[in-house]
């Protein structure tokens, strides 16, 4: 055990305060009964009730979830395919160029990605709406999936795939029956990453959204410009809760998986 020192305690407090005080204030004021965001006037849950009756916010939430599910699923399929080809495809001509190009959107400013997509949609005459946001989110999040999945594929024993081919699988069957089940946890985390990215994207969505397709971040941003309402605080608190539950659940699941594996190993040694 490290010894407790005042220096450690102060650094810890400062660090966590820096991270969490803004969120804490937001959560506290979401239960404020006053209409004024910065003046405390007693505890109330009325903003939550009001939020649930606000059609515009509910519509935006629904659009956001649809976009996030559709785009993260498409990004996972495309990103996994790209990762597989780049890691397993051998040394084809221009491979370095391709792998560089797939990672470039990671560092590309979002404004540029959004603008270029907007220009493309206008050029091909595609009406902006939910579909264009899905396309845009798929574009920028698939490279994240590709990074996650290819790091798993690199550490994967190639001969397991060869064994599948050797036992009579076509290359596609080998992928479906052997590679995919083994890399599945990485694919899932890629999907979750893409889902989160889509959920909180504001810049690209505002370039590619149409009048009928306002996502939650766009809605929040535009209503804050008219003044921060306690409803926004309530909405944000719900989003924090959802994310926190998701993160805690994910870590519990993976902890359990590790514990089960260790227990099985112990049993195998004793047997």
């Amino acid at each position: 055990m490290r010894k407790f020192t005042w220096f450690n305690a102060v650094s810890l407090t400062l660090g966590f305060a820096f991270l969490y005080i803004p969120m804490l204030i937001l959560i506290i004021f979401s239960f404020n009964s006053s209409k004024l965001v910065t003046v405390w006037a007693g505890f109330s849950t009325k903003w939550y009730v009001e939020l649930l009756q606000n059609e515009a916010f509910l519509d935006a939430a629904w659009v956001t979830i649809k976009v996030a599910v559709a785009s993260s699923t498409a990004a996972t399929v495309l990103g996994t395919m790209a990762a597989y080809v780049l890691v397993r495809g051998g040394r084809f001509a221009g491979r370095t160029l391709f792998s560089g190009m797939i990672y470039a959107p990671l560092v590309m400013p979002e404004v540029i990605t959004g603008l270029s997509l907007l220009l493309l949609f206008i050029a091909i005459g595609l009406d902006r709406g939910v579909f264009t946001i899905v396309l845009a989110h798929t574009t920028f999040s698939m490279c994240y999936v590709s990074v996650v999945v290819s790091s798993r594929l690199v550490s994967f024993d190639r001969s397991v795939e060869e064994a599948a081919l050797d036992l009579g699988c076509t290359p596609f069957e080998a992928f479906r029956l052997v590679t995919l089940p083994i890399i599945f946890p990485a694919v899932i985390s890629g999907w979750l990453l893409a889902f989160t990215l889509s959920l909180d994207d504001l810049v690209i969505a505002s370039f590619t959204a149409g009048p009928s397709s306002t996502t939650l971040p766009i809605k929040i941003f535009s209503s804050v410009r008219l003044g921060v309402s306690p409803e926004i605080n309530a909405l944000s608190t719900i989003m924090i809760a959802i994310v926190a539950i998701g993160v805690i659940a994910a870590s519990l699941v993976s902890k359990q998986a590790i514990a089960r594996r260790n227990r099985e190993k112990k049993e195998a040694i004793q047997a």
């Binding site: 397991v160 009579g168 699988c169 195998a268």
Partner: protein
Amino acid sequence: MSDPVSATPPVFAPWDDPSETPLIHFQNVTKRFGDFTAIDDLTIDIYEKEFFALLGPSGCGKTTLMRMLAGFETPSEGVINLAGKNIVSVPPNKRPVNMMFQSYALFPHLTVAQNIAFGLERSKMPKDKVGARVDEMLKLVQLEKFGGRKPHQISGGQRQRVALARSLAKAPKLLLLDEPLGALDKKLRTETQFELMEIQESTGTTFVIVTHDQEEAMTVASRIAVMDHGRMVQVDTPDRIYETPNSAYVADFIGDVNLIEGNAASHHKDGKIEIHWREGEPPVVGTPMVPIEDGTRCTFAIRPEKVHISKEHPEGKANILHGKILDIAYLGNISTYHVELPNGHVVKAQRSNSLRIERRKFTWEDEVWLWWTDTAGVVLTA
């Protein structure tokens, strides 16, 4: 005297029978990776029911050769025939060949039984037959109780058996084994070698094994191919590889050997030659397999166990050397004596320790005589 043919039991030697057609035929196969030539214009026949060992140092091309049989590599030039058909363009999943991988390559997400059933299910075998075949294979490798376990729940030796069972389940014409016992400890490896031989015999499958362990190749193989730099140096039965190597490379690679390099000079009319190798030492007398011209540079190779060691001067022997014991390698069952000749050359002689250690005859710094007969070694010109 009875007829000698009927007196001897039938020997498995299809390679000596010109009417036999080989199961595998490599015809002038070359494989290049960029500038590197892994397999260099190689021609070889492997016969049905053989246990064929590919032996050589790492990088000699033995694994590439095996991967070409499995279909994971395509030769740059040449033809590979399997049962009379050219398989060069056949993908791995369409070949009647299975492989046991060095890493075992078990599917971690499937149980032992599912691993074994994997290939059978791909071959559209009816479900009930798959189950029966899996049970049969589990029994063959003595893992009946482990069918429901996952690969990480069993020991390394058991994993090795699962890999073997999985590769044998489809009853392939040819089974390839890539360093199958490399990950096992020495004792388990020796046991498993005999099991492999039994399984090979009982299933009648042709086995091709890649190994760098010469003892393993000697134990299991019907024939050994010693490879170097993508070429076959010698292909022969284990005893002939050991007793009549065709080159100093093979003699040195397989087992322990004394190599004496010198110039040949004719000696007797009976074909024996003298090898003059060092000023002040008597020439070595040997019997070459083919006549050698005077003055040819050659190497005399003799195994340490064929060099006798004694305290008294042996009379009337063809080769007698005198020296001093420099070192003794005591291995329990045998001891290897490193004897330094007056000119500094060290010759190894081996004795089995049939007497208890306290009554051992030789010790360090002892003056001893070494001798061997004129047929104990081989004369090599390559």
